[in-house]
Amino acid sequence: MLDLDSKWRYFSNMLLVRRFEEELIALYKTGKFSGHFHVCIGQEATAAIAMDLLAQRDHITTTHRNHGHMLARGVSEKIALAEILGREAGMNSGYAGSFHLTAPELGFLSTSGIVGGAISLGVGGAYACKQRGDQSVTMALFGDGALEEGVSFESLNLASLWKLPLVFVCENNDATLWTPSGTLSKEHAVSDLCDLPRLCGIATKSVAGLDLNELNSTFTLAIEHCRSGAGPFFIEVKTARWPGNRTQWPEPVTGRTDLNMALGRQTIPDEDREWFEVNDPVLKIARQLANEPAGDSKLLEIDIAITRRMEVAVEFALSSPYPNARKALDHVFA
């Protein structure tokens, strides 16, 4: 069970991610950047736990839906935001954009927007860990849609055959991008996503993405399993689809998350009742913490501090210049 300090820490992390993503949508709506992007609203608990439990020397691969992973791992919101806005001060100097944020100094390998990219590159990370023999592990985070790609099957097969220290994390958010005409389609003939890795002889566990305790114990178990040399581990994290995650671009349908809804000081709009009452991991942990002594005021204080941090980040990003255009010629080769 998580102690109270950890819970507060995770809550802060999760709220930072939430505020970051909300801010991003607002910036997009006002034309502050262009192009495709994806937000991880609803998936913050996974990011908070997963990124915290890995050691410094471990490796991570992730996807187009990477912002939460970056922030939870400790990337500053200022340089993450600047990157997404294509600025010079961005964490990848403007080359990456939203899809490809990466921080090798924190263990991240390449962040791939190609479905099936992160899972298969992760096998490579784990191969390197095993070759080094230093008990390090790699974690590959990817969406449920990735399991439609053949390379993902190949990755499971290979990781199993070679007993690689790889934590597969399938963030099943019940959403693949190209849902036809806005409705969800069934793209897996396999109904339980753990069945495929299980068939390949991989240890698996399915866990709700809402519950910090369960996430904590599952990720701890999986990482230990891999570190001990017992081969890969596959975690399916089930989260409900955030209603704004509806088409190619996210829509701010649920508005800015008001923590007062968790404190009973603000009524929840009918149309978003299920989301805020049942599915939102941020409000869920907020409700728990509100029951602690002085919990509600502390929650709001943290929100104020984070909101302020985000204001600073927005200012930082917007005031950072764009890269000199000629820099496009750099970094083709190391």
Binding site: G35, Y95, F99, E148, V151, E187, P323
Partner: protein, 322 residues
């Protein structure tokens, strides 16, 4: 003949619709195109032909194989593979299977599958969603490689692809999706014919896909300076209409080749190579290639724009050889 004004993306879907009406064996394997105005049209297509618009999982290799195999079995699938870079996942099916099956069978087996992607530097596509695909597929004998630049060409070339007996790889540049133009409905455009989009006498500008528009703009500006530029739209890289290109340089003696793919191994170099061999006798000056520098495409706007060839680069190239 009916002429209708529509966007490039609408022209692609209209051609598909008209081909589906004309031939029961035509079907779409793909998601509704993510090109603004066509979402509605794609939905209509699905309503009209519920069993002939099939939305596959995210498994490009199998999806492309389904197209190839179905075509071998007599169907005429139009397989939309989405963004150009996703077709790399299907390269074996396209290059190793569809392209060679007629040859490999001694002419006994046809695979008239049509593959379509949206490609090119699109604005914030970053390195993985900005690939120009045509240099990658061009060296594949047996595969028809088609790049329409206008709504009318898109319509006419898609109609051709869906009656032609060979496999085809069609690329639509992202930035063309919303371009408007008149379309001659019901009219197919044969493959293997370059199109002289503007006639001129002083210099030839050979261009591919989106770069045709940059070339036309440059030609317009050259005209104001008294320079008469001919703009030739390649349209079909395979079969390649070498004759039309050569005829133009025979007339002008000077040529610029403009293409968005990176210069090394790119299409501007490849076409220049053909001309330097077969058309050398006509040349009064170097063949200038206007292409992308040899770099991936960065996410940030100003860096991205810096890389993309435009009218200014063409004007500079022309100035250097006149």
């Amino acid at each position: 003949m009916t002429i209708q004004k529509m966007s490039y993306a609408e022209a692609v879907l209209t051609a598909l619709n008209d081909s589906m009406i004309a031939d029961d064996s035509v079907s779409l394997i793909g998601r509704p195109f993510s090109l603004g105005p066509t979402r509605v049209l794609a939905k209509k297509l699905k309503e009209k032909f519920p069993t002939r618009v099939c939305e596959p999982p995210t498994s490009e290799a199998a999806n492309a194989a389904v197209g190839a195999g179905a075509a071998m079995a007599g169907a005429r699938p139009f397989v939309d593979l989405g963004t150009g870079a996703f077709s790399f996942l299907a390269f074996s099916q396209i290059v190793n299977e569809a392209a060679v099956c007629n040859y490999m069978s001694g002419g006994k087996l046809r695979a008239p599958v049509v593959y379509h992607v949206n490609h090119g530097v699109r604005g914030a596509g970053a390195p993985q969603h900005s690939h120009d695909m045509h240099a990658y597929v061009w060296n594949t004998p047996g595969l028809q490689v088609i790049l329409p630049a206008t709504p009318n060409d898109a319509y006419g070339l898609v109609r051709s692809a869906l009656t032609n007996p060979n496999p085809t790889f069609i690329m639509s540049h992202f930035k063309q999706a919303t371009m408007m133009g008149d379309v001659e409905l019901g009219v197919s455009i044969p493959f293997g014919k370059a199109d002289v989009k503007r006639t001129g006498t002083d210099v030839t500008i050979i261009a591919v896909s989106l770069m045709v528009h940059a070339a036309l703009e440059a030609a317009e500006q050259l005209a104001t300076r008294g320079i008469s530029a001919e703009v030739v739209d390649v349209r079909s890289l395979s079969p390649l209409d070498e004759d039309t290109l050569l005829q133009s340089i025979e007339k002008t003696g000077r040529v610029i080749v403009v293409d968005e793919s990176p210069l090394h191994g790119g299409v501007s170099s490849g076409i220049a190579g053909v001309l330097a061999d077969r058309g050398f006798k006509y040349l009064k000056a170097p063949i200038r290639r206007v292409g992308r520098p040899n770099t991936p495409v960065p996410a940030s706007g100003p860096m991205e724009e810096y890389l993309v060839p435009g009218p200014q680069h063409i004007l500079e190239a022309v100035a250097s050889i006149l």
